[in-house]
């Protein structure tokens, strides 16, 4: 909590060189300087916080560059006016607030928000989720292609290294386009490890991103091992068990029958893996996973059912129907994906039990609570209570053009901001209301 407050400090100009120990802070208000230095002693360094400077135009940009290059940390700057543009551009992440001072900041920024208080959401909720999603999507992409390609690789050992393809061309081409594409998109859109309110309640979860815990080499190695294991299972189980007659009529499978069976097992295993790796499974997950597998089957039915004069010589005419006419097909279809995913399942179970991530503990702590977010939105249509009506009226008073008053804790804007974060009602300060009411007669200063 304390650090979150500190994170919104104003006009703190760090001066100094590369080593974090030696930074000396200069601040316009002594309160801030003290707090920032104290925070430093806790190990919470101020580079990864916001420098919100409303003072001289160029210096804010220079300060940001100094921090960015000198301290080699990720910097984020936030501002709402045209004077903040250089600072926004100099930082790694620039956030513009759209509103009173025009859209210049927004146009120069990487992210734009409507109100300053949305910054918490941006960082702790969406930023964190975004990191998680990108890691998962990237890892999944490499995994599914590695699994697919390795099955062909194992096959080359048995073709005299002549380079014969294992799968039919169209199956291969459409693997990434149709049969495994949609579920990972849904994963990237909807994945969340903990809900939004919990993300804000446990801001320490943000550390997982800072520590890069989801994209270390160790994680990559685990996924790669899983891909190797699954490709071996899919390839070996099918090729070993399809030797000899495969139904009661004594007939034998050819190359394309075996490869189509491996492909089917692969598509199923790789798609169901999405369900294993998702923390929150919506109906879109089911639709896309089931839909991808269904799309593969429908495609196989159509593709294997027609012959055209333009067919190539190694065609797979009728292969899927031949496969589906044997009991062996269904037995294999149950066994192979289950064994493929069993390895990952065991790994996840052991990992969650003995080496849990922080977000997993948070999930468990709150596992019995349901999402209570829907109640918040009902207030749209509600009548304003007298309190709300009064505060609405006050908010209609002309505001300061610049929110900077140089006071960290005594200014009205901050107090009410923190109050709203904590869900506590903070009354308007009388002197502030009086000050603003007296501004009524002044004509509005044109925006910069």
């Amino acid at each position: 909590e304390l650090f979150r407050c500190l994170a919104i400090c104003h006009t703190v100009l760090p001066e100094g060189d590369e080593s974090p120990e030696k930074i000396v802070y200069q601040a316009a208000s002594p309160d801030e300087a003290a707090l920032v230095t104290a925070a430093k002693n806790f190990g919470f360094f101020f580079y990864s916080c916001m420098l919100s400077c409303f003072s001289v135009t160029e210096s804010t940009g220079k300060v940001t560059s100094l921090v960015r290059k000198g301290a080699k940390k990720i910097t984020l700057s936030i501002g709402d006016g045209a004077n903040d543009v250089s600072m926004i551009q100099a930082a790694h992440v620039g956030i513009g607030i759209s509103g009173m001072e025009g859209m210049q900041a927004v146009m120069a920024s990487d992210f734009a928000i409507a109100q300053f208080r949305f910054l918490t959401d941006l960082l702790l909720v969406h930023g964190r989720w975004s990191y998680l999603r990108i890691c998962k999507v990237v890892m999944y992409f490499f995994y599914k292609n590695l699994t697919f390609t390795l099955t062909q690789f194992w096959f080359t050992f048995r073709t005299g290294f002549s380079g014969q393809r294992f799968y039919d061309d169209w199956f291969q081409s459409l693997y990434n386009v149709f049969f495994t594409a949609l579920p990972v998109i849904v994963l990237g859109l909807f994945e969340k490890d903990v809900s939004a309110s919990l993300s804000k309640r446990y801001p320490e979860l943000y550390r997982e991103g800072i520590r890069n815990s989801f994209f270390k080499w160790r994680v990559v190695a685990v996924w790669a091992t899983s891909a190797v294991y699954q490709s071996l299972v899919c390839y070996l189980f099918v090729t070993t068990s399809s030797f000899g007659a495969i139904n009661s009529s004594g007939k034998i499978f050819g190359l394309w029958d075996v490869s189509t069976l491996v492909f089917t097992c692969l598509v199923i295993a790789v798609n169901v893996r999405i369900l294993l790796m998702s923390n929150s499974i919506t109906r879109w997950h089911y639709i896309t996973v089931g839909g991808s597998i269904l799309a593969w089957l429908v495609f196989a039915f159509v593709y294997c059912g027609i012959t055209t004069s333009r067919d190539r010589n190694e065609n797979v005419y009728f292969v899927i129907y031949v496969l589906m006419s044997t009991f062996y097909f269904y037995f294999t279809l149950l066994l192979v994906p289950a064994v493929s995913l069993l390895g990952d399942f065991i790994y996840q179970g052991v990992e969650r039990w003995f080496f849990p991530y922080d977000y997993q503990i948070v999930q468990e702590i709150h596992r019995h609570e349901s999402d209570a977010t829907k109640a918040d939105h009902l207030e749209i249509e509600n009548e304003l209570t007298p309190q709300e009506a009064r505060s609405y009226a006050i908010s209609q008073l002309p505001r300061e053009l610049s929110k900077h008053t140089g006071f960290a804790f005594d200014s009205p804007g901050y107090e009410s901001f923190f109050a709203s974060q904590l869900g506590v009602y903070a009354p308007q300060k009388a002197w502030d209301v009086a000050r603003r009411a007296s501004m009524r007669s002044r004509p509005k200063v044109p925006k910069k």
Binding site: R117, G160, R211, S241, G250, D358, I380, S391, S420
Partner: protein
């Protein structure tokens, strides 16, 4: 007062810059999809679920494994390798020369039936170290030529077995050219056993891939004979040996259906096989085997499925036990905040 949610919700009462104005709120329209609040299932892989899943898997897989293994164990199979023994002793020093020569290649083999075999009994030939899945081999065919007479000249992919003196070979290509041509004549107690050679190919091949009007032409008329010859009076869709051979195998060790015997064989029966050892596997160290096998609903003798199911079911059961023991010995309370990294080590964690 509710805390802020992921959406840009209207401000709780009391904050200075409320946008709760009903007339000019810039708040975007709420929808569960865009606000990412779709109802979701949030599975937590607790130890209970892990153990339950393992038990369910073992309960399903072990019976399936038993069923598959029984089916495979019911199958009776006789395998007899004959390529070395069928070369007469004086010729064994140079088998390639023998097989390419014109001497009489017939050979007599004896098989003993180990268990009662119920009809139909399938006769296969098994080849080893024969790479039907080699890239140049697999593409050396012309499916359009096989299907219809008018495409007779589509022989581009078939080099070098595409034409003879300018006349197209039907069927062209290396696959057809290397047709297996050992023959087997079986008899039991001096009574010949008829081997039914119809219905050995997949129906889809017979009816759609190989045309009824296409007849072999100029086949095996080149300088090098690669395999068997074809009766020029039978259309391709009736040449089931060719059809079976042309369904290229996946691995270098494969078997292909030769025919089926439609009478029972009793335990202890002696089967005499008079085979013609025509096919040259000696130049590449290949092996030839004759196989007699019954089938079950799951196919031939292949214990792999049964053993795999049983092994996986067994492993899952064992893991369920191991996890239960670990859970009892070293429990971790679910949702124990002491495991949070900031509670365990100050500033530390993964």
């Amino acid at each position: 007062m509710p805390s802020n949610t992921a959406s840009s919700s209207s401000a709780p009462a009391g904050s200075a810059d409320s946008s709760a104005s009903r007339t000019k709120s810039k708040r975007p329209k709420y929808s569960k999809f865009t606000q990412q609040e779709l109802p979701a299932c949030k599975p937590i892989l607790t130890p209970g679920w892990v153990i339950l899943t393992f038990l369910v898997i073992s309960v399903i897989f072990i019976p399936l494994g038993v069923v598959s293994l029984f089916a495979s164990q019911d199958v009776v199979e006789i395998v007899d390798r004959y390529d070395n023994d069928c070369v007469p002793t004086p010729a064994r020093a140079n088998k390639v020369a023998y097989i390419q020569g014109v001497s009489d290649k017939s050979c007599n083999r004896t098989l003993v039936v180990p268990k009662k075999m119920k009809q139909p009994i399938y006769v296969y030939y098994q080849l080893e170290n024969f790479y039907q899945n080699h890239r140049r081999y697999v593409k050396s065919r012309s499916d359009s030529q096989l299907r219809s007479v008018k495409d007779e000249n589509q022989i581009d992919a078939c080099k070098p077995e595409d034409d003879v003196n300018g006349r197209p070979i039907v069927p062209c290509g290396l696959i057809a050219w290397s047709l297996f041509n050992d023959t087997y004549a079986l008899s039991k107690n001096n009574q010949p056993l008829t081997v039914n050679k119809r219905g050995i190919a997949w129906k889809s091949d017979r009816e759609h891939k190989f045309g009824k009007n296409v007849f072999p032409k100029n086949f095996q008329e080149g300088n090098i004979t690669g395999g068997g010859r074809l009766d020029a009076n039978k259309s391709l869709s009736e040449q089931e040996d060719l059809i079976v051979w042309m369904r290229t195998a996946a691995l270098p060790t494969f078997r292909k259906l030769y025919g089926k015997i439609e009478s029972d064989l009793e335990k202890g029966d002696t089967i005499h096989v008079t085979l013609l050892n025509n096919y040259n596997t000696y130049s590449f160290d290949g092996k030839k085997k004759l196989v007699l096998s019954t089938t079950s609903w799951l196919g031939g003798k292949n214990d792999f499925l049964g053993i795999a199911y049983l092994t996986v079911g067994g492993i899952c059961f064992f893991l369920a036990l191991v996890f239960t023991i670990m859970y009892l010995v070293k429990p971790r309370r679910l949702g124990d905040p002491t495991y949070l990294s900031w509670n365990r080590v100050p500033g530390g964690g993964r």
